[in-house]
Symmetry: C2
Subunit: 307 residues, 2 copies
């Protein structure tokens, strides 16, 4: 690879939620850069080509072929996932919750339009998994450009609704789900409500007695206030237990990410560890030791969560 | 922060070990970018000013004031550390080794010129810690620009030698050290020998019967072959046990890093967990749960290490 020449393009900071195109962020020699303005940092991927773009009803959706990360999806110019490293995120957003509930049968995924969470959930003997994503185009484009994430879409246990996840959950029956997975974008704009006490309370009601919720909760280095808010809000919503799970995620801000698990009855430390050790399906990141290890809190976060 | 304008500067890939200046990698509006060419990715930090530069006998050394990461040190244009996130690396390079040995008294740090490892080691009741760094200027500049890392330098238990770490260890007595910490740069050029079976064998001889070695061993996402080589070489050198410890490190390639611990007698899982829980010193990242959790292997790495 030759050194990079940057000549006069404009790059656009993350969280500046206008309708932006990632392709505006490409240098002439094709580096896509996402800036984290609040943290004075940026991450870049080397791009071969843009292979899809469209303005959906909700956002600007682009797919790129990268040099070394397989395909990249961006929404309004922000990295959503790449082929190379999404396995960590999707496995950590699903298996810890499913191995915490004693017998999960009915699962809901809020957001998660790329279908990666549905795929992982279906590795378990669930009866049903429903994905409630606002933007149908994200799922249709994923089916075309990320077929590896959509291998479960034709499974008879899987169903798909393209509507507002908050309204959907408000209309759910009491105890309708054993697991709710909140695979959202950042807490700005339309996704903000997915981080609120009110929504967590709605989920609490829609979960069965031993129900488990898990939500992506941003970076321990860049967004500690969000992690603390999520924990406070989950507690206020009535969840008896919370646990922050940490893992690396190269293409997200700071390369370090969390999912926060909330449980109505089972303590997160009491997950089905033997079942996880004896699981009869393949994973690339998750295993029982990783599950337990991910719950260890960095000392600075442990102190903040204890306050 | 305004969007970034890139206008015609040249950025230089990591591992291209010529005498490079990080300041050549600054955009006119002061983004420092480090490219990881083998992995088609790059990481950038927003810079206020360069506050020091010099060509030492061995490398080009620069210090920058960043917008959000405190100070940044680069060597030959590559990120070594920042004020904001070096605590993770330095705590994970030291405390797991010191809490694995039953009673560590004599510690050697190979490399580690910024003195961050010495500082952490001195939190334990050791008798002595010696830092063997090739380039004295790294330590002198750290004393000036990273005083927070050098608070242990006047401790009577600390000593500093500025010479070749491999030769130093070859001349060490049998069993002279309880702990050896290899805080090296990447395995290219002068640091390559620090990753070899021969050097690990030298360290094995220089370690006491229950001696513990720990070495930085690069990224699980970008450098799996290095992690596997380090483990193979440590085994070939005679170490009874090895353990890969993983942790986030935002400013290093992929944001995900490892240290590999090798032990002559004590199994890494049998570390002094109660002592770690009851430690009488402050840390920001490390605690006993983090120590145990860091030893969990991602499934893809567990399979590769088992082969």
């Amino acid at each position: 690879m030759s050194p990079v020449q940057c000549t006069g393009n404009v790059r656009v900071p993350r969280l500046q939620r206008e309708k932006l195109m990632a392709s505006d962020q490409l240098t002439p020699d094709k580096w896509y850069t996402e800036i984290y303005p609040d943290d004075g940092a940026a991450f870049s991927l080397s791009i071969k080509d843009r292979i899809h773009e469209e303005q959906t009803e909700y956002q600007y959706l682009e797919i790129f072929e990268t040099e070394k990360f397989g395909r990249l999806m961006t929404l309004d110019g922000l990295v959503m996932l790449t082929d190379r490293d999404n396995f960590i995120y999707h496995e950590m957003m699903t298996h810890p919750a499913l191995f915490t509930h004693p017998d999960p049968k009915r699962v809901a995924v809020i957001g998660g339009g790329d279908c990666g969470c549905v795929k992982e959930v279906l590795k378990h003997p669930v009866e049903s998994v429903i994905q409630i994503e606002l933007d149908e185009r994200v799922t249709r484009v994923s089916e075309e450009y990320f077929p590896g994430l959509c291998t479960g879409n034709s499974d008879p246990r899987a169903s798909f609704e393209f509507t507002d996840g908050i309204k959907w959950m408000e209309q759910a029956g009491d105890g309708e789900y054993d697991i709710i997975i909140i695979d959202s974008t950042d807490p700005v704009g339309p996704a903000l409500g997915l981080f609120s006490t009110e929504f967590y309370r709605t989920c609490h009601r829609a979960l069965s007695d031993q129900g488990v919720l898990i939500a992506q909760s941003e970076s321990p280095l860049f967004h500690q206030h969000i992690i603390l808010d999520v924990n406070r809000n989950m507690k206020a919503a009535g969840f008896a237990h919370r646990a922050v799970l940490q893992f690396a995620q190269c293409v997200y801000p700071s390369g370090w990410w969390t999912a926060t698990l909330a449980s109505k009855a089972v303590a997160p430390t009491e997950f089905r560890e033997t079942a996880a050790q004896d699981k009869d399906f393949d994973t690339s990141y998750y295993n029982a030791a990783i599950h337990r290890g991910a719950m260890a809190q960095p000392e600075f976060l442990r102190k903040q969560l204890a306050e």
